[in-house]
């Protein structure tokens, strides 16, 4: 497919030892063929970009319906009024400049025997390797009464888009003294600290505009990510505005009446809301089911070394859709998984050994302006499983000074800028 290019050969020689990272000769001519990537979010867009970076002659096609991708990270800051909607949107020109072919469509079906994927445009794409990073889909009706129609009244806002904007409008329309109720699912779900950061960001907005408002969190668990730090931060910034009720105190919601904005708990208690935010149980994006890579859990089992599906050879899955515990379902995790998968695919197509996989995560959460907290972890593949490197990672210290919290708020901003530039930015 790729004709041998003398110019590339010479420039590879010229680059010589400088390109310590990747032997240029192999990079330029080895990896031929086509990789189709479905989903232009954190996992998919990273994979497309790094495939091209590692193997410029590889044909890489990214399939994503949205012209602009709005990120879940920092969508809570949008709810708070600390970020504009535009500032959390990213287009695909940077990926195009990097040589990725971007097709704005949905992938409707995968034929893993013929190695094709059918798009909503009717077009069919052939692939040598397929990467699926479709994120999550909601398990409609897993929580009684919560289906797609209910979500138009009681938004989940767990995919950044019209749902997020709807929730913000409802917050604006709510009277002072109203109650914002959020229901939170059991693990696993997208972004373990996300609901608790949202509570803080909604509280930030209320504290400015509706100081008598209440926020009630009904949780199907007793423990959650960075719990002690969140409880401390909520109290420090918002006093008693946020009330959290865990599983043991009847926090588990079993039924939703979106029309009445009412929820029912496991022990039969009713809560009425003025704004109702239901974060429902989730599963891998449906295209993963179509591709036959999902197991009974609703998620995608993958090989720890490469994120190739354990069920169908040649198909890789990334990000929230996968069973990657102890890695959380985070944008940061999806980004490092995508880099590993891209390197594994290029190695495979060039007949080399795949590099040693390296994974990491850091999730920053904002309690309020100038008050940030984080959780970090470093992971590796060991005997076919992903494990956290012993002794690594952890959460911000509980006794962190105001300066420490301010620094983490600033670094959270930096993380967002660096991460989105690494993925959607113009090539440097």
């Amino acid at each position: 497919m790729t004709p041998f290019s003398r110019r590339h050969f010479l420039s590879a020689l010229a680059a010589g030892s400088a390109t310590l990272g990747c032997p240029a000769l192999v990079r330029a001519d080895g990896a031929a063929g086509r990789v189709v990537v479905v989903g232009g979010g954190f996992g998919g867009a990273t994979a497309a970009r790094y495939l091209k970076r590692l193997a410029p002659h590889l044909q890489v096609t990214l399939v994503e319906p949205a012209q602009r991708f709005h990120t879940c990270p920092f969508s809570n800051l949008y709810l708070a009024g600390l970020r504009s909607w535009d500032s959390i949107g990213h287009g695909y020109d940077g990926l195009r400049v990097a040589g990725v072919e971007v097709i704005h469509a949905m992938a409707d079906d995968v034929d893993s025997a013929r190695r094709t994927v059918r798009l909503s445009t009717g077009q069919s794409l052939a692939w040598d390797r397929l990467v699926l990073s479709p994120g999550v889909d909601m398990r409609w009706n897993a929580l009684e009464g919560y289906d797609e129609a209910a979500a138009t009244l009681a938004p989940h806002a767990w995919k950044a888009g019209p749902q997020t904007q709807l929730l913000r409008r409802q917050m604006e329309a709510m009277g002072d003294g109203g109650t914002f109720v959020m229901t939170i699912p059991d693990n696993p779900f997208r972004c373990p600290p996300g609901p608790y950061e949202r509570a803080a960001m909604v509280a930030h907005y209320f504290s400015r505009h509706k100081p008598r408002a209440k926020i009630l969190l009904l949780d199907a668990k007793d423990n959650f990510s960075k719990k002690a730090l969140f409880l401390q931060g909520w109290k420090a910034r918002y006093g008693d505005m946020i009330e959290w009720i865990g599983l043991s105190d009847d926090g588990q919601v079993t039924r939703v009446d979106a029309g009445q904005r009412e929820v029912l708990t496991a022990f039969g208690q009713k809560h009425r809301a003025d704004v109702l935010n239901v974060i429902p149980p989730q599963k891998a994006g449906v295209i993963a089911e179509r591709a036959g890579i999902v197991d009974a859990s609703g998620w995608v089992p993958v090989k720890a070394e490469s994120f190739e599906s354990r069920q169908v050879a040649g198909i890789y899955a990334l990000g929230d859709a996968t069973l990657a515990a102890p890695m959380p379902k985070s944008a940061f995790a999806a980004n490092t998984q995508a880099k590993v998968a891209a390197a594994a695919i290029v190695a495979e197509l060039t007949g080399k050994a795949a590099p040693v996989p390296a994974y990491a995560n850091t999730c920053y959460s904002l309690i309020g302006p100038g008050y940030g907290i984080s959780v970090a972890g470093v992971y590796q593949a060991e005997a076919g499983r992903i494990v956290e490197v012993p002794g690594s990672g952890g959460v911000s210290p509980l006794d962190g000074s105001p300066d420490f919290r301010a620094a983490e708020a600033r670094y959270g901003d930096s993380w967002y800028a660096a991460m989105t530039a690494d993925i959607w930015g113009q090539p440097g």
Partner: protein, 111 residues
């Protein structure tokens, strides 16, 4: 132990041939591709190839010895005022820290 990257590459190639792909845990040798992948876990904060445009310091082209010392200090937990690096660096061993310091120091040729 000073050694040219060329020599290192030959050595690690031979080691790997002999040992059949050592795992990441306690890795005794790292291929150039391994190090590039490892460095990718830093880009989300320090910028692609360590070129930062934010409040997080850039790594790109910094002196190798300084990068190594900083990382070793983070790993030992002996750096006041550090927010996240003390937690992250405990996930990287001496060999990895060495290779990362060299990779970012030599990143000058990369965009």
């Amino acid at each position: 132990m000073p050694r040219s990257s060329f020599l290192l590459r030959q050595l690690s190639f031979l080691t790997r041939l002999a040992l059949f792909l050592p795992g990441a845990a306690g890795a005794t040798s790292l291929q150039p591709d391994d190090v590039a992948l490892l460095a990718g876990t830093c880009f989300n904060c320090h910028g692609t190839n360590g070129r930062s445009t934010t409040a997080i310091p850039g790594l790109h082209g910094q002196p190798e010895a300084r990068l190594r010392t900083r990382m070793q200090d983070f790993r030992a937990g002996s750096t006041a005022g550090t927010t996240v690096m003390t937690r992250l660096m405990k996930g990287y061993d001496e060999v990895q820290i060495d290779a990362l310091a060299r990779w970012f120091a030599q990143a000058g040729d990369r965009p």
